[in-house]
Amino acid sequence: MADQAIRKAPLAGLRGGSHAAILTPAAPASRISLRAGKDAVPALSAALGVTLPLRPKTSASSGKRHALWLGPDEWLVIDEDDADLMAAAGSSGALHSAVDVSHRNTAIIVSGPGAEVAINSGCPQDLSLGLFPVGACSRTIFGKAEIVLLRTAEDTFRLECWRSFAPFVFGLLSEGAEDAAH
């Protein structure tokens, strides 16, 4: 019987940013890429304990579980308590596709008064509160990396990216955070 393998997150131990925008790698979380038609939404929502949003650029949260609208039949479901989302979705009985992407994605928390500016160093979306309020989410682009943005508070974003892009994203965010401090 071998030793239990130890988990190593891609940005483990990193801290960065500026007084205007602090960068913190998020703790490991479980995530699924959830795909389903509209008719499956009520059953999946019940099974997951979070109402899958149907409007673009919106999310729904229940405790530490978040469902992000990414496309008309696509959600990113994140559980910060590392719960078994595959099993939860599987128990819905509805036609869907759930794929575990817990290790594909990693997240960086960007927080502070300059969070918007830091992210806008590489992201072309309008992140002003009017157009991107708390709870808004979107898949978009950040420099040469694809990201998923979720605004968790007026001055805080959760930024998800694929793990191998994380050092690039963290580096560019650091430069943006530095500029946001001026």
Binding site: P56, K57, P72, P124, S138, R139, T140, I141
Partner: protein, 113 residues
């Protein structure tokens, strides 16, 4: 840099989130294995490359991931309209302006003066 109205996200987004997918409304023949060389040529190879309005496919690849269609003026780069994949080709004369369209400001300019 273009702003493109995604009919699924119901919002204009930067060109950086999109990828062009070539001409729209070219259906893959359901009996493709049986078609003639000429029909295959027309389906796969021949395109018009018009100066003026083109119906083309775009994918919101770094957004909702959906393919959709657009009518774009290749001279001015103005988007006349965008619509979901599978929807019929719109009649542009009858089509009301969408928010994707850039208004010119000539009328307003007169007022400003």
């Amino acid at each position: 840099m273009l702003l493109i109205y995604c009919p699924y996200c119901e919002e204009e987004r930067s060109e950086l989130e999109f990828r062009n997918g070539g001409d729209a409304h070219i259906a893959r023949p359901t009996n493709i294995a049986e078609i003639s060389d000429e029909e295959f040529e027309a389906y796969f190879f021949l395109r018009d490359n018009p100066k003026g309005v083109i119906f083309e496919r775009w994918r919101h690849i770094h957004g909702c991931g959906r393919f959709f269609n657009a009518a774009r003026d290749t001279v001015s780069d103005r988007f006349l309209t965008t619509y979901k994949a599978g929807e019929p080709k719109p009649d542009l004369d009858a089509e009301p302006k969408t928010s994707a369209e850039v208004e010119t400001y000539e009328a307003l300019e007169g007022a400003a003066q």
